[in-house]
């Protein structure tokens, strides 16, 4: 029957996630990781692995639990709410989805996927380059083949978890177009440098100079069609995180607006503040609705490009908008480190740009419109 809500299992998974993230420390953990520049909590990641979340979206044949994006959606709403930094989206979703597509008949990939699904390995997608664009045209890292060896040269930026990954899953370009390779971070010619960033997230610059790689993951020149659905999955879940964070920001802000008195009444009774609070509610709830529908379309194998792009575009904007609105309500109070809001604000700047920003997904949307309305194919 027509139903927009997550099912009981998914909601239970969400409840578990909320408990797990709270028990791990919740916002206090996020604060500690930020202040100590520890990047992420291995202990929490181990707990997530024990709960089988690392393999949640990996088919059972490769050692996963064969769940869907909507299952992860329930988890990501909560990881956003608690501002969790983990390899779940980059490794267990984006990299995993690419590997799943290439695993059949490729023992090496299948084994890596198994390790990824079991939590033994992290695979870091190395996609973005210094130009800072998420689409195919942004891939300038070169793949050069001579004789039996293939070598990669180029620079990737903001590669999540590169310094703790077993393998980097990198986009490369040669005369065939864009392909995907696995890079051993310990290989000669690879240099990995953590990048200081607003949220102290584990984002690294990866410089590759003539790094030898094994055969391609998937078809030569077919990298982008392999990657695009993986990016869409990651983007939708990043949007879920944004929605979850938005819910928490909304709660914090409304609670404050109800209790903070100025000019003899609660500031939340001023329409100016009511607009700020409803702005947050609108941005957060719409992000949830858009992303949830996109996740459902993905899980049911339906065309989802418009839905996923709209969800992440809206989420990117919402990430910036919700935190800004909350700062307006809290004013001086949340400009201080002792208040938790800045943890959201810092991560929001990452979410805004990660896995496609407003610009990238706007372009995706218009391409979809053209295909649907001009070229005449299906949405």
């Amino acid at each position: 029957m027509f139903d927009y809500d997550l099912n009981d299992d998914q909601r239970e998974l969400g409840a578990t996630a909320r408990r797990v993230f709270e028990q791990a420390g919740g916002l206090a953990l996020a604060r500690e990781l930020f202040e100590t520049r520890a990047y992420f909590s291995r202990a929490l990641w181990r707990t997530m692995i024990e709960l089988d979340w690392a393999g949640l979206a990996v088919p059972e044949a490769y050692g996963g639990s064969g769940g869907g994006i909507l299952d992860l959606y329930a988890v990501c709403l909560e990881s956003g709410r608690a501002v969790v930094s983990s390899p779940l989206i980059p490794s267990s979703v984006v990299a995993a989805h690419v590997l799943v597509g290439a695993a059949e008949g490729n023992q090496r990939v299948a084994e890596l996927l198994g390790r990824l699904a079991s939590g033994a390995s992290i695979v870091a997608p190395a996609l973005l380059e210094p130009g800072g664009v998420w689409d195919e045209r942004g891939v300038e890292t070169r793949l050069e083949r001579s004789g039996g060896t293939a070598k990669v040269t180029g620079t990737k930026v903001l590669v999540p978890f590169a310094d703790v990954a077993d393998r980097l899953l990198a986009t490369v370009r040669d005369r065939d177009g864009v392909s995907i390779v696995l890079v051993d971070p310990a290989a000669t010619g690879v240099s990995i440098t953590p990048t200081d960033n607003l949220a102290s997230l584990p984002l690294c610059a990866v410089v590759m100079e003539g790094v030898e790689v094994d055969e391609l993951v998937g078809r030569a020149g077919g990298g982008w069609p392999q990657l695009a659905p993986a990016l869409a999955r990651g983007a939708v879940l990043r949007a879920a995180e944004t929605a979850g964070a938005g819910e928490r920001i909304l709660e914090m802000t409304v609670e404050y607006a109800k209790s903070r008195q100025q000019f003899g009444k609660a500031v939340g009774s001023y329409q100016a503040v009511q607009y700020l609070c409803t702005d947050i509610g609108i941005a957060s709830h719409l992000t949830d609705l858009l992303a949830r529908r996109a996740a459902w379309l993905i899980d049911t194998g339906r065309p989802h490009q418009r839905a996923a792009a709209a969800a992440k575009l809206h989420a990117s904007r919402a990430a910036a908008h919700m935190t800004q609105r909350a700062h307006e309500v809290f004013a001086g109070l949340a400009f201080m480190m002792e208040h938790d809001l800045h943890l959201f604000t810092r991560h929001a700047k990452h979410w805004e740009h990660d896995l496609g920003d407003v610009r990238h997904h706007g372009e995706e949307l218009v391409e979809a419109l053209q295909r649907e309305f001009v070229d005449g194919s299906q949405r």
């Binding site: 809500d5 329409q271 509610g281 709830h285 418009r306």
Partner: protein, 389 residues
């Protein structure tokens, strides 16, 4: 989560589409903003009678009152298709507010008397709620209905009575007890607009339609034309707005415009290339596409909540706030894409898309019917978020 319709529902959708394809010319154009063109009006009446002929007006009503007793989701699908086809359906007040109020508060006799003629499109209803001094603050209405012991005598004025001069019956809210606090003393009536003492003065709106001031000078309303209990009118009014379940549609209208615009941008040149390749245009098309997706998910969420009897979040106000604020923004964005020629109207051969962007712009200004976006924000803040008044 399941956003699919059952095969029976898809068949129903096909039935509606087949009907619409048969009854409407290809590329049919209809000014939903209260068209006053006589030919258009005649066609709309005729078309609506055909819809009535299928029994679809009372689609979800009980059989005994002229309905087909079908589930709410079928009505949602019907409206999606009507709006997708830009179908010239009229008598919204009869189908909607009045029927909902009658179903909720009318006696069996009243339902038997009023609903079947609506279902057959034999009586046309107008709205008699808003007054010059009672807009957002509807409960401050002053039109009075005084009981003589035999019947009610109505005096006062209503405004923005859309299609009032075409209508037979007015869905009227009037004050029956001035001594009660303002929400309490209100009752609702079916008022015969042909009765002596009813008069109109025209109010032409900027989108090309005619609304009216409607005046009542000692208009007699029979006792059996009061709906429900005396003094409980406010509850019926409020309950009637969404009682029939959600009507999808805004996303269909936006999807239509987006499709038309995308195609137009692919055929028209600027800087020696199709407009669609212009980054400035693409950025704005993306904005329109996001707005359309937002309408779509809000529509589906509303349907899901209704079907599962889940109370909507934020006091149900989020949907209204978003769609009202989006309305002028959508048409303004179109105007930015189209450029200077967006001010050109349809009579001119230079008009892009036969002047629709200019018409959409004018219609987009109306986001106040049923309450201003500002009032809905306050509902969302207080009822939805629990912020103090």
């Amino acid at each position: 989560m399941d956003l699919t319709f059952s095969s029976e529902q898809e068949e129903w959708r096909d039935e509606v589409r087949t009907f619409l394809t048969a009854e409407l010319p290809a590329d049919f154009d209809w000014n939903s903003e209260y068209d006053e063109d006589e030919e258009g009006w005649a066609f709309a009446l005729d078309f609506t009678r055909k819809v009535a002929g299928r029994g679809w007006i009372g689609l979800t009503w009980p059989m005994e009152y002229g309905g087909l007793a079908r589930p709410a989701i079928d009505r949602f699908i019907l409206w999606e298709e009507l709006i997708r086809a830009n179908a010239p359906v009229v008598n919204h007040i009869g189908w909607g507010l009045a029927a909902n109020a009658l179903l909720a508060g009318g006696t069996h006799e009243q339902k038997l008397r009023f609903l079947p003629p609506i279902a057959r499109m034999e009586t046309f209803w107008a709205e008699g709620l808003t007054e010059p001094d009672a807009g957002s603050d509807l409960a401050s209405l002053r039109t009075s209905a005084d009981w003589t012991g035999e019947h009610w005598i109505v005096n006062g004025q209503k405004t923005f009575t859309t299609w009032g001069t075409h209508a037979d019956v007015l869905y009227l809210a009037a004050r029956t007890d001035p001594a009660q606090p303002k929400h309490r003393g209100i009752s609702i009536f079916c008022l015969d607009l042909r009765a002596p003492g009813v008069s109109f003065s025209p109010l032409h709106n900027i989108a090309g339609g005619r609304q009216n001031h409607t005046y009542f000078d000692d208009v007699i309303v029979p006792a059996d034309c009061l709906i429900g209990e005396v003094g409980h009118g406010w509850d019926y009014i409020m309950g009637s707005f969404y009682a029939g379940g959600p009507m999808g549609g805004m996303e269909c209208e936006q999807e239509n415009r987006l499709a038309e615009l995308t195609r137009w941008c692919s055929t028209v040149g600027r800087y020696g290339r199709p407009l669609i390749e212009d980054p400035y245009v693409r950025e704005r098309l993306a904005e329109l596409a996001v707005m359309t997706e937002i309408s779509r998910v809000l529509s589906y969420e509303g349907l899901s909540n209704f079907l599962h009897r889940r109370p909507p979040r934020f006091g149900g106000a989020l949907n209204t706030v978003v769609s009202k604020e989006m309305r002028p923004q959508f048409s303004q964005t179109i105007s930015e894409i189209v450029g200077p020629l967006s001010q050109v109207r349809g009579e001119s051969p230079a008009a892009p898309m036969t002047g629709r962007p200019a018409e959409w712009f004018l219609r987009g200004i109306n986001n106040h019917a049923g309450g201003t976006p500002q009032v809905k924000r306050m509902v969302m803040a207080t009822r939805g978020l629990g912020l103090p008044r």
